[in-house]
């Protein structure tokens, strides 16, 4: 549809609307209303605007250019294309988050193809497509590459289904490409050949991220590409196959980089080479974000020193560092706002975080070996405490540990009351307070009481219903809650559903919550994006009752253990939708 086509005038305000509502005081010309609305970007605000009255609904739908679909099955391509005629950028999320952890069978769905077919027909001027947890096949990438002449940005976060061929189409045909980001996407047969497919005169790339690709890439092509794009390239994240000296050559061509993902640091370099790498880093005056760093150890850190002082985000989640090594580097990074590390840095490393990074806002500590049950390794409650003492601005925490105490969490949130995201994963399910052996209820009660801005919470450890009573009572801004191996009865889930007004996503696994709990949320689920319950006590009967009560919810059971009423519903995924039951559901997904 040509964006200049004058829309039909049926929405012009007359003295009274067909439904008799009083909009007489809102009689500006459509053009003025649309001009005003064109300044509103947030889709939430736009959704609100569209509810004011018919005129505003129409003005809004004509002026919306960014489409955000939080759950690809909550709406259909047909409905979207009817409502929004002028879309330039699209963001869609697909599978529920637990699919990241292999909890969803393969071929569950969230294939983008049907969407692309519609976009190709209705939005030929589409410029941006950002997908998360969707399946993207090569034929879809081909359709994308060939359908949108002005296409600029492709971002595939945690997607799967494509190979080298798909990327080749994009590189070959998207002449105006500024962004190609396949972060965390699982691409099995993807090599580096697609890099050779960018045309000789192509020079507009601003963002290139292929850090999660497993294979070698064609370095000459990459080097030439980076060189051609030296004026525009801001973000470059290469994969592990790129060596240090190759990295140096790339950096020389890209001094304007703001974000860099390095390749492997495992390389013997001559002193001269070290110097060269070091000065390449120093010359990147705009560098703020550093990641990659595979196999980096303190032998190499000196090359980074020239850039450290300016860094705001350091992602060491691929580098197995000891505490001393981390401490040594962090001494040079006083401006860090975000830090991701592996738990080999231990509590001592986190003490260094506390003492070197006073501006820290986000900390993520990942486990080196999630399945190792040796209690000697990793971080503990001491590390959490140390960070909270040194970093009062901390508001985002993801912390994998093998032991924790109520006291430490209580103290930590006292030191850092601004938490918006508190994700604590005590890796042994149902583990109590390490010192007192009591449940971890007090810890999470403190989190919700002390942190009024909390939007996301993941709980773990031994938890009774008390935790959930506290959550229901205090977590008034909570939007996302993840629960595993916790709670004693249905009451827990009921408290959360009744008490958290802003709850949008609830994911529960292995908890003793049954039909009563499920059905207590009957009025709630339409106000939420989705509910996931797996390995709980919900039966097919409960699911059927919910489905009957609420026709605008899709109640899907994956891998049921039998279809009679009494059978347990192994995995249940409930979400609001205006599109009706899925038409592409595989045989193992049962929509009730």
């Amino acid at each position: 549809m040509d964006p200049d086509t004058k829309k039909c005038k049926e929405s012009k305000p007359h003295s009274s609307n067909s439904n008799g509502s009083k909009c007489s005081h809102l009689k500006f010309p459509d053009e003025a209303l649309e001009k005003v609305l064109s300044f509103i970007d947030s889709h939430k605000d736009r959704n609100t605007v569209s509810l004011v009255c018919k005129e505003w609904y129409n003005a809004e739908r004509w002026t919306r250019s960014n489409l955000f679909i939080g759950n690809c099955y909550s709406v259909s391509p047909e409905i979207v294309s009817r409502r929004f005629p002028r879309i330039k950028s699209v963001r869609i999320k697909g599978k529920p988050r637990f699919s990241d952890f292999n909890m969803l069978p393969r071929d569950w769905g969230a294939n983008v193809h049907a969407w692309l077919v519609m976009f190709a027909e209705v939005y030929p001027f589409l410029e941006e497509l950002r997908l998360k947890r969707m399946t993207v096949n090569d034929e879809s990438l081909e359709l994308l590459a060939k359908s949108f002449t002005g296409f600029k940005a492709l971002s595939l976060l945690s997607c799967d289904g494509f190979t080298d061929d798909g990327l080749k189409f994009v590189a070959t045909h998207c002449r105006n490409l500024t962004e190609l980001d396949i972060q965390d996407s699982v691409a099995v047969d993807v090599g580096g050949d697609w890099l050779t497919c960018f045309p000789e005169n192509f020079s507009s790339l601003e963002i290139l991220n292929f850090a999660s690709l497993n294979s070698e890439v064609n370095f000459e092509s990459l080097e030439k590409l980076v060189n051609r794009c030296k004026n525009t390239l801001r973000v470059l994240k290469v994969n592990e196959s790129i060596t240090l000296d190759q990295l140096q050559r790339l950096l020389v061509h890209a001094p304007n980089l703001v974000e860099l993902g390095t390749g492997s640091f495992m390389q013997e370099l001559t002193p001269r080479q070290y110097e060269d790498v070091g000065s390449a880093f120093s010359n990147c005056g705009k560098l703020r974000v550093l990641s990659g760093l595979w196999d980096a150890t303190d032998l190499h850190f000196s090359v980074l020193y020239g850039a450290c002082a300016r860094l705001t985000f350091l992602n060491f989640s691929e580098a197995v560092l000891q505490s001393g090594e981390l401490a040594k580097l962090l001494a040079h990074c006083p401006n860090l706002r975000r830090l991701w590390v592996i738990d080999t840095v231990q509590d001592k490393g986190l003490e260094a975080v506390g003492s070197s990074c006073p501006l820290l806002e986000e900390l993520r500590v990942f486990p080196l070996d999630p399945y190792d049950l040796d209690h000697q390794h990793g971080v503990t409650e001491q590390g959490l405490l140390a960070v909270s003492l040194g970093c009062p601005k901390l508001h985002y925490l993801l912390y994998f540990c093998r032991r924790m105490t109520n006291a430490a969490v209580i103290a930590a949130v006292k030191n850092c009351p601004n938490f918006t995201h508190f994700r604590l994963c005590i890796m042994n399910p149902g583990q109590p307070d390490h010192l007192t052996k009591s449940p971890m209820d007090a810890a999470f009660a403190a989190v919700v009481k002390t942190c009024p801005k909390l939007r996301r919470l993941s709980v773990s450890g031994l938890l009774t219903d008390k935790t959930f009573e506290s959550i229901g009572e205090y977590a008034k801004n909570l939007e996302t809650l993840s629960v595993a191996f916790a709670g004693s009865s249905d009451k827990a889930m009921v408290c959360v559903l009744r008490g958290c007004p802003k709850l949008r996503k609830l994911e529960i696994r292995d908890c003793p919550f049954g039909n009563a709990a499920l059905l207590s949320g009957v009025e709630k689920y339409e106000m939420m994006r989705s509910l996931w319950m797996s390995a709980c006590d919900v039966t097919m009967k409960g699911c059927r009752m919910l489905a009957r009560e609420m026709p605008r919810l899709n109640v899907e059971v994956i891998e049921d253990e039998g279809s009679d009423d009494g059978a347990k519903a192994g995995k249940v995924y409930v979400y609001r939708t205006v599109a009706g039951p899925r038409r592409d559901a595989p045989p193992f997904v049962l929509t009730l």
Binding site: V186, S317, E318, P367, P370, Q431, A484, D510, E559
Partner: protein, 201 residues
């Protein structure tokens, strides 16, 4: 969990166990939780290949003794792995395998007559005795005792392995450390078929 499944899938070993063996919550909570993807071969295989260091019967026997939370040789008790827990993305799991190539050494084990191959982590065992006991438990067979002269004469089953050169050897002939570095895969043969491997001295 006490019952080892004869078909070799050993699904019970992928079930959750809460807390350390012997803690009170364990039995109650276990009844409520089931392996959420027991019907999916792929997930079971993932579980299995990743970290199933113990056969279920070994875990079960250790459960009986509250105090004995370690295996006899001092190795920590490995819990059965649960699908999707801890919630760490698959690609992150690979960090360990890449960084610590010494940390595990998974080998395929086949037994004549059994429909499925199994995998064991050779690094988990410190000597032939532990290995053979482990194999006996895993396959519910008797291997008996090795002797330099007679091999496994008198046993129903004979453990053999393929070495770096592709030759099939009798388990026990070489020192343990040498065995660990040269063993590529294991095969438990029926004694009747293993005659050729017993080294006549």
């Amino acid at each position: 969990m006490e019952n080892y499944e004869a078909n070799g899938l050993n699904l019970k070993a992928t079930e959750l166990r809460l807390g350390l063996p012997g803690t009170g919550n364990e039995q109650q909570q276990q009844d409520q939780y089931s392996s959420s993807s027991s019907s999916h071969q792929q997930n079971v295989k993932n579980n299995y290949n990743n970290n199933n260091k113990r056969s279920s019967s070994e875990i079960a026997s250790s459960c009986d003794d509250e105090q004995q939370q370690q295996h006899d040789d001092g190795a920590p008790l490995a819990k059965a792995q649960v699908v999707g827990w801890p919630p760490v993305r698959s690609y992150r799991k690979n960090v360990l395998e890449k960084k610590n190539p010494e940390s595990s050494m998974f080998l395929k084990v086949s037994m004549d007559g059994a429909p499925y191959l199994r995998k064991i982590d050779l690094k988990f065992y410190n000597n032939y005795f532990d290995l053979l006991k482990g194999l006996e438990n895993m396959f519910k067979c008797t291997i008996g005792v090795y002797s330099e002269r007679e091999g496994y004469n008198g046993s129903e089953h004979v453990p053999t392995y393929e070495d770096k050169d592709g030759d099939w050897m009798l388990v026990g002939d070489v020192p343990w450390d040498m065995f660990v570095t040269s063993c590529k895969r294991l095969r438990i043969m029926k004694a009747s078929e293993a005659k050729g491997l017993v080294s006549p001295l």
